[in-house]
Amino acid sequence: MVKRKNSDKAFHTVVVLLVVTFITELIANSIHNFGFKTNVTVYKIFDPLQVILFSYIFYHLYQFRKLKIFAVYACIVALILLTISTIINISPNVNNSIGVTTKCALYILLSLIKFSEMLQTPSEENIVVNPTFWFCSAVFFFFSVNIMFWITFNQISESAAKNTARLIHVYCNYIFYSIVALSFLLIPSKNKLPDRYE
């Protein structure tokens, strides 16, 4: 019987995540263009969905059962924190960074755990052509920059350098999506590597 490898499921979920992100950004941009005061509500809906999808991706990337369980619990805790931050900050953009910082911290933690798992179980494959490595690097890099951005968000948004910060944030997005695209390019073709099935 041919069974799909977990990394296949993870990368399928990444596609779903990218589609959801694209739709969210499109809606948020439209709301902004229509002249609404804020579009933060869209992100309040998107954030829990993103947490669930990222946890699901890492759940499938992890090999050890205890780490899979950790991903589930971390997802639940992050969702609770996101809900609390939403309840206590109904008005938009006031301390909005708490919830977002929580989810960034979660993604950094999940990617670091995956890095440590990779070190514990090194494969014979070259790490530089390993799509999981590039995906984790992208997540770690992007959300590490993001967390700094959101931690200092309230200070930056009132400072003169807010445009520079936003520009850096935008470039980070480009880097993130480029590395994710690279990881997709590195996924070996099913015909070339039948051992991707177990």
Partner: protein, 248 residues
């Protein structure tokens, strides 16, 4: 304003550098671990190969001993008896020839049986299931055992390791004949999800699993199973028969 922009710019550069440095450090450390892992794997592989060679030699040695014993105890005895019959001055000539002829026929039968037992080509051509069923059928022909064969008509793909498994089955059957005092032997073969499970059970005297003598035999079979990438499970109690299951 310029000062704030510079701070943000340098801050971001510092973060970028640290993150890139972390990823490079990870790759370097990973490569080190990978090299160590490969070395360990190689040494384990060579140890396994060595163990495999030793086990194959042990199996060969055991087979030679069995052949030698069989020739000495059985065929040698029968041929000596035939010779004695022919050289016996007290017996009438036709009677001696007839007796010697019977003994020679028995010797030929024993040699043929021995040859069949040792022939690996039979296992390769017929497959392990058919060969095992034939082995158990032979026991039925002795009329000392009642044999029951249950199987689900699925045959595994032939592999080199099946010879080792077949030799294990031969040893199990030999042990049943020699030690079990059983009247019934049951063979059950099932294949589920590419795993063939072969169970040989008897209604004999069984054995205490803690017995040191039986322990050596079981360990020997377990080592062979490991060699053939199979698993073996013993289930026996004094007076309650024995059931041995091999999965491959």
């Amino acid at each position: 304003m310029n000062n704030q922009v510079s701070t943000i710019f340098f801050g971001a550069t510092a973060i970028f550098t640290v993150l890139v440095f972390f990823i490079i450090l990870f790759v370097v450390y990973y490569k080190q671990r990978q090299r160590a892992h490969l070395l360990e794997k190689k040494s384990l592989q060579s140890a396994f190969e060595q163990e495999k060679i030793i086990s194959v030699m042990e199996i060969q040695e055991q087979t030679f001993n069995e052949v030698s014993r069989e020739i000495h105890d059985n065929i040698g005895q029968v041929l000596s008896l035939a010779r004695m019959q022919l050289n016996n001055p007290n017996q009438s000539h036709p009677e001696a020839i007839q007796h010697a002829d019977e003994l020679l026929e028995q010797a030929i039968r024993d040699i043929r049986s021995l040859s069949h037992t040792l022939n690996t080509y039979k296992v390769q051509s017929m497959g392990i299931i058919e060969s095992t069923m034939q082995l158990v059928e032979q026991l039925k022909n002795t009329r000392q055992f009642n044999t029951i064969i249950e199987f689900d008509n699925v045959y595994p793909e032939p592999k080199d390791s099946h010879i080792i498994i077949y030799r294990m089955i031969q040893e199990i059957v030999n042990n049943i004949i020699k030690h079990s005092k059983a009247s019934e032997i049951k063979l059950n073969i099932q294949t589920r999800n590419d795993i063939t499970s072969l169970t040989i059970s008897d209604n004999g005297v069984g054995f205490k699993q803690a017995s040191p003598h039986q322990g050596i035999g079981m360990r020997n079979l377990a080592e062979r199973a490991k060699l053939a990438n199979a698993s073996i499970e013993f289930n026996s109690n004094s007076g309650n028969g024995t059931s041995i299951q091999i999965k491959f």
